[in-house]
Amino acid sequence: MDELAEFKAEVREWLEVNCPPSMRTPMPEAEACWGGRNAKYKKPDSKLWMDRMASRGWTTPTWPKEYGGGGLTKKQNKILQRELGRINARPALQSFGIWMLGPALLQYGNETQKQQHLPKIVRGEIRWCQGYSEPGAGSDLAGLQTKATLTGDHYLVNGSKIWTSYANYADWIFCLVRTDPEASKHDGISFLLIDMDDPGVSTKPIQLISGVSPFCETFLEDVSVPKENLVGGLNKGWTVAKTLLQHERDMIGGIGGQGIKRKVEDYAKDYLGEVVGKLADPVLRDKLAQYNMDARAFKSQGSRFQAELKTGSAPGAISSAFKYYGSELNKRKYEILLECMGSQALGWEGEGFSNRELSTTREWLRSKANSIEGGTSEVQLNIIAKRILGLPD
């Protein structure tokens, strides 16, 4: 325990010295630091903070030191995160490289690939995006058509990807591509890393109903990719993808707790008023209580799952249940908020509505994607029926 206490003291001191005061304030979405070749930093301190954290490997605290990571144990990392939280430090670096590609490379990449890519992810030098979905294949992810044909030392890649998050800002893309058109659907897919500066790669942002454009279509026309960029073996891409998808599902499933941090009842009080300490509208109050109970129950399910994970008794497909329930819950939250807010929920921009109102409306629209992205609710129910309940095809 002394070692941990020592570690804690050391962390606290280091942060005191190295975390700029401007990085200890709430972070507007627009000031998030994503790194990359062409990164623009709204505040110079963002870059400084990222670099300092990266120098310790703390942008990826538990990654091995040999690839630039922090090499921390779980317990040490917990301390680090707590200390960061204590001073309200902003995230030093956000990155699909950290969240998704890194873990996949650590599990499936060869030594060269790890050496080449991981340190750059740690330091925020390369910004990655994900190329899974295709216009013709949504829920049917494995139905993808983007082709990669080996010609000599290179794969020739042709096709297009959709829902590539921030592809217009990314440097590299990790892609699922079809390398064997003859094999059965899942068996002919490979996992490929592509430099987006290569000729033939282009992107086009997609405007969403919520008014923002976090996603792109990404087009690949005769892109030449060195065969060394294949991860996890030829036609073994589906294995890599499944690991990543599960990971994504867990992230989105937790979404019920994301977004609005303010309690729904506090919003409701503003808009409905109170009578003797109760929300003035008893019917909406009942609806809201049901929502809060469901959210609390969902949290309880999460705790049980965490405990079962440790004993290995949790069924693998249970993450589909989280994904399903969590996203439906989040959609419901915003529908209730809209009901509470009346005509103040109907603004798009400009005068007459508070900023919080305007962003709630946008988040309501955004929430509709929860049950689509990362595997639709329908797909999750299919998985539960098949893999947990064993119902026949």
Binding site: D140, L208, V283, E335, G347, E351, T361, K368
Partner: protein, 378 residues
């Protein structure tokens, strides 16, 4: 009960459908939206007036066709299909209706022809809170020598930024919340003391918050008997709920049809997604909801033409039904369209946005369920 259309009504519906498909298209709406100005298409409005729709409920004596509410409902339903923004509801229905019920002969002579020929636009400034209420009127109408002095705030006034005239509810006596003491005024929008803030709403229509700062109006502006506007408001809002339901029905039909088409066309896992039984059952359920919604709107519109005693119940029924049905169908529609449903390029999101605004206008479902229960004596 006119559950089946007669020949004249069929003709009217057909012409509204043609207009909505050829002129009042959703592309047209997108242009207005992206221009981000007043969300009003003057050329389209001219055509609406020429087609005679501005006078559908107006007696022939003032140039109208006296065709009735079912007729107007059919037109609004078709315009609802393509999300057509037009001042028809505010001017051709709300203003015409109020003037017919509350106007003196002189007032009718002055305003109704302008409504029918489309030369003047009206907006009804009544709501003062974030939720629909008939009773809540705090805007003051103080008796002064020459007439009345109006002061207060009106919110979410549809077509408020377009209007040449406002019809304004104000409290001339009694406490806020009381039925007695509410009066109606028709006021020139350029009158001193009136200021407007145009809102940019999620459905890209013309809406404004309106402030009345000691607006002096002559006694000629008073509609109906002073202090006794409440029963008129009640009746107008019942009709408004039903006609708004008609507009929403058009939108729901359109989204439903789009979604069924998409289910038949989109392929996943090697088959069209419409062959998945879970989606089929949800589609069938939507069909049933929509079929019931159609019946309710049709019956409610007929009830208006027939002056049925059941109008209040049917108004609350129709509005609740269409609020919930359109919410269901837009939510399910977006979900069944998958990622594409989330893009601005697909129209379905536009319907989702409009649905929530229409939900709020003239009472949301909580409001109308409460009212339906009260009307039922429980």
């Amino acid at each position: 009960m006119a559950m089946i259309l007669n020949d004249e009504q069929n003709l009217l519906q057909q012409s509204a459908q043609d207009f909505s498909e050829k002129v009042a298209t959703i592309e047209n709406f997108r242009k207005l939206r992206d221009a981000k100005e007043r969300y009003h298409d003057q050329a389209l409005w001219k055509q609406v007036a020429e087609l005679g729709w501005t006078g559908i409920i107006v007696p022939e004596g003032w140039g109208g066709s006296e065709f009735g509410y079912l007729g107007l409902g059919l037109v609004l339903q078709q315009l609802g299909r393509h999300l057509t923004p037009s001042p028809l509801f505010s001017t051709g229905f709300l203003a015409a209706e109020i003037l017919m019920q509350a106007g003196s002969d002189a007032q009718k002579d002055q305003y109704l022809p302008k409504i029918v020929d489309g030369s003047s636009l009206f907006a009804f400034a009544h709501e003062e809170q974030i939720r629909h209420s008939i009773h809540q009127v705090t805007c003051r109408g103080e008796k002064v020598a020459a007439g009345y002095r109006l002061s207060g705030e009106k919110v979410f006034v549809v077509d408020g930024e377009l209007a040449d005239y406002f019809i304004i509810s104000a409290r001339t006596s009694g406490a806020n919340g009381a039925e007695a003491g509410i009066s109606l005024f028709v006021v020139d929008a350029s009158q001193a003391g009136i200021s407007k803030v145009q809102l940019t709403t999620v459905d890209s229509r013309n809406v404004a918050n309106v402030t009345l700062d000691n607006v002096e109006v002559s006694s000629d502006c008073l509609l109906a008997e002073v202090d006794h506007a409440f029963p008129i408001l009640q009746n107008v809002f019942d009709k408004a709920a039903i006609l708004m339901a008609a507009e929403m029905l058009g939108a729901a039909e359109d989204v439903f049809e789009r979604t069924i088409d998409y289910l038949k066309e989109r392929e996943q896992f090697g088959v069209t997604i419409g062959s998945f039984q879970a989606l089929k059952h949800r589609a069938a359920d939507m069909f049933v909801e929509l079929d019931i919604a159609k019946s309710v709107v049709r019956e409610a519109l007929s009830a208006l033409d027939e002056g049925s005693d059941e109008v209040p119940q049917l108004a609350s029924l129709a509005k609740t039904r269409l609020n919930d049905c359109l919410t269901l169908i837009t939510n399910e529609g977006v979900q069944m369209h998958g990622g594409m449903g989330m893009t601005d390029e697909f129209d379905i999101g536009l319907y989702m946005k409009r649905s929530r605004v229409a939900n709020q206008l003239f009472g949301d479902s909580n409001y109308h369920r409460d009212r339906f229960a009260s009307l039922g004596g429980y």
